[in-house]
C-alpha cells in the first residue's frame, strides 16, 4: 500500500472531512502546549472506537507511526508527531456515555474535557477530582496518557487513582480492556501500568472513571506571608499537624505580580508569598481543622490569613492560581517551566537552590506550585532574543532537575516526560530500570509504533524543526 492508498482507505473509514492532509491545515496540528513543534503527515479525527481500530490497523499494516492527541494542551511534547507520522486526534469523541450515581462512576470517551465532566456530574452531587490547571481545555484521554495531577490531587491522588478501567486500541488495531469496566479486577493491574504511559502502550477509546461525592463544606484560606521561607515553614507545620488539606498551593511574589497584572485574584501585591489552602469535608470536621490551620499559619509568621467568604471569592482565588503560567507573559516574552518533585521536607532546601541558580545564571525564576506534595514548578522567565539566554535557561533547568533527583525527588510531578525531559531520565533511572520499562512497553506495543522517540533518552536530542522566529519571539512552557 502506498501513501495515497493509505490515506484513501483512512478517508473511507472516517470520511473526507475528518482527514486533514493539506500542509496549510497541518500547521495547526504541529504544536501542543509545549515548546516542541513538528508537522504530522496527516491528522485523523475518528468518531468512535471502531474507526480508531480500523485506522490503527491500516496504519500498522502500512508501517506508519501513530501519535494520539487530545486537546493539545500537554506540556512535555507528548502529542508532537514525528514528521512521517499519523496523528489521531480525539476532539470528536467527546461523549459522556453514562453516569452511574449508585456506583459513582462515569463512562466517557477520551475527548471529553476534564471540566465538562466535572460540571456534568455536579448536578448529581458528585465530582471528578483531578483538576489540572488546564482542566478547562484538556481531555481525559490526555489526562490518562500523562497521569495528570492538579491542586486537589494532594488529598485525592492523580488521575491513576480515579481510573477504574479502559477500552484501549493497541498498535495493530486490536481492541482490549484493561482494569475493569465493572468495579473489581483480578490479576495484574495492567490499568495501573497503562496510565501515564504517554501514549506509547495504546490509545484509550473509553474510560470508566471514579467519581467522588461533593463535600458538604469547602473552605479556602489565603495565607499571606512576608517571604517564601516562612511560607515553606507553614507548609511543614500544616502537614506536621497531620492535616491533609484538599489542596495546598504556594505562589511567590513574582507570580503574584504576574497574576495581578492580568486579573484581580485578590492576592496582596506586597506579599512575599501566599499559600492557598483548601479544606473539604463534613461541616464539623472542616470547622475543627480550620482552627488548626489558622493557628499553624499565624504561628509560622503569617502577616494575614483570609477565608473566602463565598463561592465567587473562592473562584477568584483559584482563577489566579490556574492562570499563573499564562500570566507570566506579562513579565517576560518567554518562559520555561520545570516540573520536578522533591520530598516535602526538602522544599525549603530546593527553593534555596532555585534562588541560587537564578542568581548565578542571571535568570528570573518564578515559583508557583503544589506545595502540599512537593511538586515544584520553577519557571524561568526570559527574553529569548537576548543572545545566549536560551542556553543559560536550559542549563539552569538541568541543574534544577539534577538537584531534584539529588534530594530524593523525581523529574515529573504531572506533566510527563515526553520529548521535554527524556534526556534527563538517567538522573533518576539506571539503564537497567529503563530497559525494564521498555520491556513492559514491548508487551503492549512490540513494534513501538505508538509515540516513539518519547520518554527514553536516545541521544538524538530530537527537537522538531521550527522557524527561528518562533524561538526568538515565542514562549517556552
Amino acid at each position: 500500500m502506498n501513501g495515497n492508498e493509505l490515506l484513501a482507505s483512512i478517508r473511507a473509514v472516517v470520511g473526507d472531512d475528518y482527514v486533514i492532509a493539506h500542509r496549510e491545515d497541518l500547521l495547526v496540528y504541529e504544536y501542543d502546549g509545549s515548546v516542541d513543534r513538528s508537522m504530522p503527515r496527516a491528522v485523523v479525527l475518528p468518531a468512535d472506537t471502531d474507526q480508531v481500530s480500523r485506522v490503527m490497523a491500516l496504519a500498522y499494516e502500512a508501517g506508519v507511526t501513530v501519535v494520539g492527541r487530545g486537546s493539545g494542551t500537554g506540556l512535555s511534547g507528548g502529542a508532537i508527531t514525528p514528521p512521517e507520522g499519523l496523528q489521531i486526534a480525539f476532539p470528536r469523541m467527546d461523549r459522556i456515555l453514562d453516569v452511574d450515581t449508585v456506583n459513582r462512576t462515569a463512562l466517557v470517551e477520551p475527548g471529553v474535557i476534564n471540566l465538562d465532566l466535572d460540571n456534568h456530574v455536579r448536578r448529581f452531587g458528585m465530582r471528578y477530582a483531578p483538576d489540572p490547571s488546564s482542566q478547562r481545555a484538556c481531555s481525559l484521554g490526555g489526562n490518562i496518557a500523562e497521569n495528570a495531577g492538579g491542586p486537589h490531587c494532594l488529598a485525592y491522588g492523580a488521575t491513576t487513582n480515579h481510573v477504574i478501567g479502559m477500552e484501549v486500541v493497541l498498535e495493530d488495531g486490536e481492541i482490549v480492556h484493561l482494569g475493569s469496566m465493572a468495579r473489581e479486577a483480578a490479576g495484574y493491574d495492567l490499568r495501573g501500568a497503562f496510565v501515564g504511559s504517554e501514549g506509547t502502550f495504546g490509545i484509550t477509546t473509553k474510560i470508566l472513571v471514579r467519581l467522588l461525592p461533593l463535600p458538604e463544606t469547602v473552605r479556602t484560606f489565603l495565607g499571606i506571608f512576608p517571604d517564601i521561607d516562612s511560607a515553606c515553614t507553614a507548609v511543614s507545620a500544616v502537614i506536621g499537624h497531620g492535616i491533609v488539606p484538599a489542596a495546598l498551593e504556594m505562589i511567590d511574589a513574582l507570580s503574584i505580580k504576574a497574576v495581578q497584572n492580568v486579573t484581580d485574584a485578590g492576592y496582596p501585591n506586597d506579599a512575599g508569598a501566599v499559600l492557598l489552602i483548601e479544606l473539604e469535608g463534613l461541616n464539623e470536621e472542616v470547622d475543627e481543622v480550620s482552627g488548626e490551620v489558622e493557628a499553624a499559619l499565624w504561628d509560622t509568621g503569617a502577616a494575614d490569613v483570609r477565608v473566602a467568604e463565598d463561592d465567587a471569592e473562592r473562584e477568584r482565588l483559584w482563577v489566579g492560581r490556574k492562570t499563573a503560567f499564562g500570566a507570566f507573559g506579562t513579565i517576560a516574552p518567554n518562559y520555561y517551566l520545570v516540573d520536578g518533585v522533591v520530598p516535602r521536607t526538602r522544599l525549603t532546601q530546593m527553593l534555596r537552590k532555585v534562588t541560587e541558580v537564578s542568581e548565578r545564571y542571571g535568570i528570573t525564576i518564578a515559583n508557583v506550585f503544589h506545595a502540599g506534595d512537593g511538586n515544584l514548578h520553577p519557571c524561568m522567565l526570559f527574553d529569548a532574543r537576548e543572545p545566549g539566554v536560551m542556553e543559560s535557561a536550559m542549563a539552569a533547568a538541568a541543574e534544577l532537575m539534577e538537584e531534584c533527583a539529588l534530594l530524593g525527588g523525581t523529574l515529573s510531578g504531572e506533566h510527563g516526560i515526553g520529548l521535554e525531559k527524556k534526556e534527563f531520565m538517567p538522573l533518576v533511572y539506571t539503564d537497567a530500570d529503563m530497559e525494564a520499562m521498555q520491556r513492559v512497553r514491548e508487551a503492549f506495543a512490540p513494534k513501538n509504533r505508538l509515540n516513539p522517540g518519547k520518554i527514553f533518552p536516545d541521544g538524538s536530542y530530537w527537537r522538531p524543526s521550527a522557524h527561528p522566529a518562533a524561538y526568538t519571539a515565542g514562549m517556552y512552557i
Partner: protein, 466 residues
Amino acid sequence: MVSAPDRHSDAGQHMGGGIDAGHGFPYGLPFEGSLNDGPGFAGSDAPAEADLYRCVHCGLCLSACPTYVETRLETESPRGRIALMKAVHEGRTGISDRLVSHWELCLQCRACEAVCPSGVPYGRLMEHTRAQVQDNGLQSPELGRLSRLFLKAALPHNRRLRLAGHLMRLYQRSGVQGLVRKSRLLGLMPGDLAAMEAQMPVMGRQFFEPGSQVFPARGEKQMTVGLLSGCVMPLMQGDAMRAAVRVLQRNGCDVAVPAGQGCCGALNLHAGDLELGRQLAKRNIDAFKQAGVDVVVTASAGCGSSMKEYGDLLRDDPEYAEAAHEFARNTRDITEFLAGLPLDPPSAQLPWRVTMQDPCHLAHAQRITEAPRQVLRSIPGLELVEMAESSLCCGSAGFYSLIQRDMSRRLQRRKIGNATATGAEVIASANPGCISQLEQGLQNAGAEAQVMHVVEILDAAYQAEG
C-alpha cells in the same frame, strides 16, 4: 551536565526515535498541497509580533470558541487561527484562500480573548489580519461583495441608509415581501441574494432620527448624555432607541442625539478596513464634542466595544489621538451606565420570566455581564433565569450571518435551544445584531418567546407604573 537539546535541528534528523523507531508514511507520499507562496504580512497595520507571540498555545481558549465547539477542528480555533498568523509572519507560508477561509469563519466574538490567561489581544490581531487579507484582495468573493455594498457604500452614509431602510420597510410592510416569498421568484435569484432576502432584518415600525433636539431630564438634571444613534439601529430598532431615551430621561439625564454622528465603524474595522473605520471614528468624535456631552452612551454593545477602542485605533494620529482617548474613556454601554447610577427602580410589578443572552461585544469585548442583570433584577416581579452557554455567540456577528450562513445557523439554533429551555417568555439582549438574529431564530423554530433590549424591559416596567 546534560547539554541543551539543539532547538534548530531539522525535523528530518529525527529518526532515532526510541529503541525501535516506528516508520513513517510510505516513501513517496507527497503532502497534499504545499505551503503556498502567496503574499505575506506587510506595512504598519500588520499584526504585531508582540501580540502574536503573546499566545503561548496553551489551548485554554478552545472550549470558549463557538466555531471550535461546533467543528472540533483546530483549524477553526483561536489558537489555530493565531498559529496561521504566526506562520505567515514567520514567512513559512503566504496568505492563501485556505488560510483566509479559516480566518473568515471566525465570528470575532472575542470569547477567546476573555478567557486567555496570557492576555492575547485576539480582536486586534484578527482585525489586522483581515486588513492584510483585504489589502491583498484575498477576501472570499462573498465577503468582498458585501463589504463593497454595505461597508463602503451604505453604512457610512446616513442618507443612503435611511433611503434603503424606507425601501425595505415598504417591501416588508406592503405585502410585497409575502408575495415574493410565496412566488418562485426567490428561487430565480442568485444564491447570495435569495439568502440575503431571508436574512433581511425586519425594519421597525418607526425610525428614530438624530437631530439638534435635546430630550430633557425628568426631575432634577444630573448630567447630559449623548446617545449614539449609529447606523442601522435607528432603522431596525427605533423602539429600543426611544426606550433608551425615556429610561435615561427618567434617571435624570438630558439626552442629546446629535446630528452629524453616524456609524461607529465597527463592521468596517472587523472586516479589516481600518482606514474607513478611522474616518468614521473621527466623525463621531467631532459630533459628540460639539454636542458638549458628559458621557456617550450606546444601546449597541458592538458599537460600544469599538468606540471604547477608538483610542487605540487613532493612537498614531497626531490630531485625534488625545480626543479619541478621551472619547473612549467617556463611552458607556447603556446597561453599564444605568447600573452605575443610583438607578430609580420601577415601582410597578413586571411578572415576566426573562433570560439574558450576553452579547459577545458586551460580555467578551467589554467584559460586562453583571450590569444588564443588575438592571433586570431592579425590576420588581421579574424572574431572571440563566440559560446554558449564555455568552456563546448567537451567530449574528455583523455580516457574518450573510456570509457564513451554515455556521451562523448552527449557532442560532444552539442559542435558541438554550434560551427556550429556560421557559423564559422574554430573551433579553443588548445588541441590535443579536436581537435580529434571535428574532429570526425564534421564528424559524416556531417558538413563542419575545426578544427585547434590556432597556426596553426597564422601560416597560416604568410604563407599567401608569
